[in-house]
């Protein structure tokens, strides 16, 4: 009994001590930026907020988020979302970041690496997230589950906002460029950086219409047919689905997407479909070049047009999955690859 009492006391002591330690470590960081920002924004606050944003929960159900003021402490668990936040100039507000399979675009790499990383994968422990004292969590749809990051409802009940990147939301809707615009617009509203956001959207849209103008000269029968290949292993390949962003990227670049059912397939399908161009996914752990070599080495594929003519275009992981501000450059690059004569 006496022993137990000591244990309890010891436990209490250690808890108070660690709590003190935390306060000393973190609080100055917390309060300073908040007050500074507040003073700057006080006049705007009344005009801009409250802002209501339609977003989703992990299962794809619609959830409304009401913002009374601009969030100041962002935790984001997805490099793609982080890249978008960096593009919007919100680096100073990111207090917790996570890594995943793909790196961000080169131009953000330094900024990205200087962030405070709380996890090496996209499912940080709930308490680690809570420890950052965030007021918004921005991330990937599927990671908001009970056993991973925790549900949207739980976070909202704690008074912490959530924002799920549009192209990551569960459900039957296709992933599209339009949904990237929607993200930029929404984030612009949430953080009161609408001017910057609309500039980005304008820039993307002007690039898009440039590409679309050019490729509209291509007659329907001259349009190239494109298939996406994510992995190759002997007589098997891994395809992307028609609902993936790749389909929209290919279509916007003026080609016909042959992506249909995602997953493992026999290369028999590839032969039967006979694409003109192959879009190859580039990842750190499986570089596009390796897959291209494997495709060229497979004798059964020698009659496939794309392989006979060696027409391969690689696309980076961050760009094809959920998309980003820079994804429009990828669309340009695709169009150039599809119709080299047009872009001479």
């Amino acid at each position: 009994m006496k022993k137990n009492l000591w244990l309890v006391l010891l436990l209490c002591l250690s808890m108070t001590l660690s709590a003190c330690g935390q306060k000393q470590g973190i609080e100055p960081e917390v309060t300073e930026p908040v007050t500074e920002e507040n003073q700057q924004e006080i006049q705007e606050v009344n005009e801009h907020y409250p802002v209501t944003i339609e977003n989703y929960d992990g299962t794809g159900e619609r959830v409304e988020q009401v913002f009374e003021k601009a969030p100041e402490r962002i935790v984001s668990n997805q490099p793609q979302a982080i890249q978008l936040l960096l593009a919007l100039g919100l680096k100073e507000k990111i207090v917790g970041a996570c890594r995943s399979v793909g790196d961000v675009n080169e131009k953000y790499l330094d900024e990205f690496n200087s962030l405070n990383f709380i996890s090496e994968n996209d499912s940080p422990a709930k308490e680690v997230v809570l420890d950052q004292n965030p007021d918004i969590i921005i991330g990937w749809g599927s990671t908001f589950g009970e056993n991973t990051l925790g549900s949207v409802k739980d976070w909202n009940d704690k008074g912490i906002h959530t924002y799920l990147v549009e192209n990551s939301v569960a459900g039957e809707d296709s992933r599209t460029l339009d949904r990237i615009y929607k993200d930029i617009e929404n984030l612009g509203k949430i953080f009161d950086v609408e001017e910057k956001a609309s500039k980005m959207i304008e820039d993307m849209k002007s690039k898009q219409s440039n590409v679309e103008d050019k490729v509209s000269q291509i007659a329907e029968e001259d349009r190239v047919k494109v298939l996406t290949v994510q992995m190759v292993y002997e007589n098997e390949f891994y395809a992307r689905s028609r609902r993936d962003l790749t389909t929209d990227l290919i279509t916007r670049a003026g080609a016909i997407s042959l992506d249909d059912e995602g997953g493992k397939q026999s290369i028999e399908n590839l032969i039967a479909i006979n694409p003109d161009v192959l879009l190859i996914i580039n990842r750190i752990d499986s570089p596009a070049q390796e897959k291209i070599e494997a495709l060229k080495a497979n004798k059964s594929l020698a009659n496939v047009d794309a392989i006979k003519d060696e027409r391969f275009i690689s696309v980076d992981y961050v760009d094809f999955y959920g998309g980003n501000y820079e994804t429009m450059n990828t669309v340009e690059r695709l169009a150039e690859g599809f119709y080299p004569d047009l872009f001479k």
């Binding site: 399979v101 090496e120 992995m231 007589n235 059912e261 399908n269 039967a272 752990d285």
Partner: protein, 344 residues
């Protein structure tokens, strides 16, 4: 003897018929022509024209190796099942009972998620799973034959279970800490088995291994019969049980190892095919062994046809199909036949 001839004919017919099934529809007549031209090396103009078409590639380079791989894998698993059940004298034994599947899964997972066998290029996953299978079975033998050196079956089974649990735990650990959602999907697919990747270059090793070891076991039916009767009766007949058991286990593990490396873990075949065959022809290994081998091949050919035809333009992992079809059939046989694993 008659039943053997019938089964062999059935196997050959199944091979030819199964080649006509696939996502690309090719007429049976054309399939027959392509096979005929290829096998007998006919070089008329008509033949050359047909052979240079993509249909010929599909038949000869994709479907034929795949169907042959199904035969090899099915036969190999049935062979290991029969011998394993006799060696450990337990009706629940299957090719994976010594932890081979979990070792192979661990190797494959390391290959997929950690890139551990990267220097083998695209074969990394297969090499990894083979090494995993081999190491676990060696480990299990060492444990089982330690101490008294006689290696009783209980010790063997328990060691297998322990290794199984350990390897599964490590696999899950890697999956849990991995940052890669797509990779995790690949691992899941791998553990459900599949023949999609089968190609001429993947076929020789499993084919030769299975053929050689099958030939060896076909000469061993007497000893297998005696092993099933029990250790004491075997010893009175002057058979060195420990030595034979060791040889059989090593050979069986080799077959299972190469088969698993080629196709992932395909459940149920090695467990039920021997039982079904015993129900139909009695428990003499002179008949059980060759008929199981043929039946395993035929069963897997048709499971694979089902796996690639059931979903349009996509593939079902074959491990799902074997249990889905095999389970009910097995239960039906149990209800309609009286059956007692050799004894009664």
């Amino acid at each position: 003897m008659i039943i053997l001839i019938i089964m062999s004919c059935l196997l050959i017919i199944s091979v030819v018929l199964a080649i006509t099934f696939g996502p690309v529809s090719i007429e049976a007549k054309e399939v027959a022509k392509i096979l005929y031209y290829k096998i007998f090396n006919i070089e008329t103009t008509e033949a050359l024209e047909l052979l240079s078409s993509s249909r010929a590639d599909i038949i000869w380079n994709i479907r034929l190796p795949r169907v042959l791989m199904a035969v090899v894998v099915g036969s190999g698993l049935a062979l290991s099942g029969v011998t394993m059940q006799a060696v450990v004298k337990n009706p629940l034994a299957n090719p994976y009972i010594l932890g081979i599947s979990s070792g192979a899964s661990l190797g494959a997972t390391m290959g997929i998620l950690l890139g551990s066998f990267h220097w083998f290029g695209t074969y990394g996953v297969s090499v990894g799973s083979f090494i995993g299978a081999l190491l676990t079975s060696l480990f299990v033998f060492t444990i089982a034959f330690s101490g008294t050196g006689r290696g009783n079956t209980i010790k063997l089974l328990l060691a297998g279970m322990a290794i199984n649990a350990m390897c599964s735990a490590f696999t899950n650990f890697i999956i849990y800490i991995a940052k890669d959602a797509e990779g995790i999907r690949s691992v899941t697919f791998w553990t459900m088995g599949g023949l999609t990747s089968a190609s001429w270059s993947l076929l020789p090793i499993p084919l030769v291994t299975t053929l050689v070891i099958t030939a060896f076991f076909l000469t061993q039916f007497r000893i297998l019969n005696v092993l099933l009767l029990g250790e004491e009766s075997a010893m009175t007949l002057g058979i060195d049980v420990t030595k034979m058991r060791k040889i059989y286990l090593v050979l069986t593990s080799c077959v299972t190892g190469v088969v698993v490396a080629a196709s992932g873990t395909i459940g149920f075949v090695g467990l039920i095919v021997p039982h079904v065959v015993r129900m139909l022809v009695g428990s003499d290994h002179k008949r059980v062994l060759p008929i199981s081998i043929l039946a395993g091949g035929i069963f897997l050919i048709w499971c694979d046809v089902f796996a690639r035809m059931i979903i349009h333009n996509s593939e079902l992992p074959i491990g799902i199909v074997t249990s889905m079809i095999g389970g009910p059939f097995f239960i039906y046989l149990m209800l309609t036949k009286s059956y007692g694993f050799g004894g009664e």
